[in-house]
Symmetry: C3
Subunit: 351 residues, 3 copies
């Protein structure tokens, strides 16, 4: 269940400078405060430097500057957090799926499943689908007609791909995610909604991660597109024909409305919502629960919402906010009157 | 995989006036900008009129006014968007489910499945359930005891209906949706929550659509009710005993708290939240991410929230907002003082 | 499908004082307004007292004060809502799962399933998992390696537990919930995200309820922890290493970011969002859709957001809000000028 790896092996794997015994055995990972004498830890955030000296960790991933004067064992690396990311997979207790096709899985005759793929119990793979080598399809997954999953992908149990979803290499999809659902397309005639068939598909790049219960709708006409290296957290909604640029990351509960395009290397914090048909340029950071109602053309950080207050104070603020337009007009009027009766009075600065 | 339909056939199907050759073959749909020489397009939004003249589309669905002076082939109709909705289904690559009951499905002895229904692999249909003609139940669906699904419904793979969910005709439910879950009912006694059994069911009208991973809870006592023609997008939460009027539409990530009633022909944009036990009248439009804390008795558009700003400016606004009550009082005081020293000073307009 | 229970039996079960015939037969529950002559009702909220006199209910759960002068049959109890909660389970039409392991379920050889547990169709139980007596595992559930489910738990159809999820006694998990998904852990190096294995698990106490499509991520290093008696509604996101104190309740669509700790007996209304790495003390109430960006150290109620307005008025408020910092400065300047020209002028009260 848990791996045992020697410190020297870890140093070699990471290209790290080792301070300490290469024979010391590491059996797991933990924070500086919680690590026991067989666990590796790391110091990435300077806030936690105070915990370094008393840590019981077997060894610590450190920058050279932090390693100076540290008496314990250390693996000195340029980027301790990245090093931690790399070694974390060595200690992952996640079970490795059995190879081959589980006898209970239903595979269409003309689906192509590479012999080096793993298909779990009760999985359904429909006509014309293609599953590459090294792919794990978890139990209860549904892979629709003509879907393609590139090499070394990992689908948790219970992932749904509708038809015509094409996925690149090394893509991870968590349980409950649904890719290719029929987007919200309706034409209203005399108050009644008429469904529009969603004839596009979904195109997902390499090294993408899609979180638990996240939904990515298929395109109405052309495809919905998720770029390379995009990371989507849990409970996210991606509507039809959204395009997401490479290496953009979104935290949980984000909602992106139809046909909106998001650039590369953007970060959307939790609960952000974007209206449809807008463009977000590269390198934009949007803080949590922000409502984005128009395009963003300049990189930078953006926010909306109000700061939390005790509820009694908040009720006053919220009531006053509805008077704000009135207050602004009264302020301007007052400035004018005061300007008329005082020397050197200047006009309102209001635009 | 793709249909080929002659322009003349489309004209006849739509009752459209054809400008061009009835023999021209159409193989798909696309936007004006992206359409190739075998694809049909449409002009519904005047913003896209500029793309009409250069479109390579085989033909375009147009209003009579837009068709005047258009040199290309056209299908002239009263409502191009509605016409597009209608023909879209002809070009839908969605696979049609095989008829009959998949041998792996588990059907209770006393469940009634019409011979003209389709039940997918690993579906489970419990005691007393009734599935009408023309219904598709996707793979991995669970249909609880005594559920009823009316004619021509379509359930994507992996939809859960708890017991006693009654669904009308032509209802579409996307993957991951859960209908009839046990709502959040607890009685608090001395700080400990005691579960209240949710003994009601769910009643869903005709022509309803329910999106990916949307949840509709069963009633606590009476049923939760979704009217005819209601369209619910993805990731929506409908709590116990909510009632939604006919032809109301909700975009993704909306949350409706318990026992709230929403009228007919309402539209809720993405991320809207409603508290419980309120009434929303007919023909209300609520903009994205609005928090609705009281009943709405007049048709119209409603909003809450703040506009997005660069984060540095937003921090100032958010800080000032907490001072707003103080500012309002100071403004009033200032008006009083200025009124006392200037002629014709009138009192504050503040209520 | 429906139970029939005599009023005398209910009085005995509840320890209630009976006004009326112990032989009267009760077949269900309903509100005061909707109850028929064989249904039991209750009066908990004083707002509904007006419906008592005309209620057709067979009997009503009442406090002693409300029972005085009530002519109908009554069960007099100290807490009618709690009494309703207790008797509600007697009238619950939820089907009871068949005992034993469904023949289609896939159980690993070394998994331990108590003979008094019920395992549904197509369920998958992986290596080393332990299912205690009285547990129901619904159809299509996936129970990962080494998971433990304590006595008398109830998992709806289609619940996913990843590996190493430990669950206490009497825990209820609704359909679509995913426990133990891989949290959003990535190290960014030169703009590219590198996945961090999530090596922790999830620890869930006794008497917990987890709603439809709710996600609880596994810990990055140590476990994510849900205390005893915690109630989570639908569509909630609990990120890695969150800790939730005993008897805290969250309404639907709440999102909690990584490593945040929430105290005991807190209540989070619908749509609330919390940033990561903060602490919320015991007995905190957070109103709907509030954005919580820092720790809370005092019990009480907290809010953010703005009140709903008609959209036209809201647009003015939202525009003015962006001018608020400017307005505040102008107000202060005006106070200074007025103070200079009027007698007894005092300085701004602004901090």
């Amino acid at each position: 269940m848990t791996a045992t790896i020697k410190l020297g092996e870890l140093a070699e794997f990471l290209g790290a400078t080792l301070h300490g015994s290469p024979e010391k055995e590491i059996t797991g990972l933990a924070t500086l405060q919680e690590a026991g004498p067989a666990q590796l830890s790391f110091l990435a955030n300077p806030q936690y430097r105070k915990y370094l000296v008393d840590s019981r960790a077997a060894a610590v991933l450190l920058k050279a500057a932090d390693a100076e004067g540290f008496a314990g064992d250390a693996l000195v690396v340029a980027d301790p957090y990245l090093a931690y990311a790399k070694v974390s997979h060595m200690f992952d207790p996640k079970p490795k799926a059995a190879g081959g096709i589980h006898p209970s899985a239903m595979i269409a005759d003309d689906a192509q499943v590479d012999p080096a793929a793993s298909i779990g119990a009760f999985a359904v793979i429909e006509s014309g689908a293609r599953i590459a080598a090294g792919v794990t399809v978890g139990a209860h997954c549904f892979i629709g007609a003509r879907c393609e999953i590139g090499a070394d992908g990992w689908l948790a149990p219970r992932v749904t791909l509708y038809h015509d979803v094409r996925i690149g290499q090394r893509v991870v999809i968590q349980s409950g995610a649904v890719i290719g659902g029929e987007g919200f397309g309706f034409a209203n005639a005399k108050g009644v909604w008429h469904k529009i068939a969603q004839v596009g598909g979904v195109l997902i790049g390499d090294d993408v991660e899609i979180g638990v219960n996240t939904a990515v709708d298929r395109g109405a006409l052309a495809d919905t597109v998720i770029g390379n290296g995009v990371k989507l957290d849990n409970q996210i909604q991606i509507a039809h024909n959204v395009q997401i640029g490479d290496h953009t990351a979104m935290a949980a509960c984000v909602g992106i409305s139809g046909s909106t395009r998001i650039g590369k290397h953007c970060m959307l914090a939790g609960g952000v919502g974007l209206v449809g048909h807008i463009d977000i340029c590269d390198n934009v950071f949007i803080t949590g629960m922000t409502m984005v109602t128009h395009s963003i053309t300049e990189p930078g950080a953006y926010s909306s919402g109000t700061a939390m207050q005790p509820a009694a104070e908040w009720r006053k603020s919220a009531a006053r906010l509805r008077q704000l337009d009135d207050m602004a007009r009264r302020l301007k009027q007052l400035e004018k009157r005061v300007g008329e009766v005082t020397p050197g009075g200047n006009a309102s600065s209001e635009g």
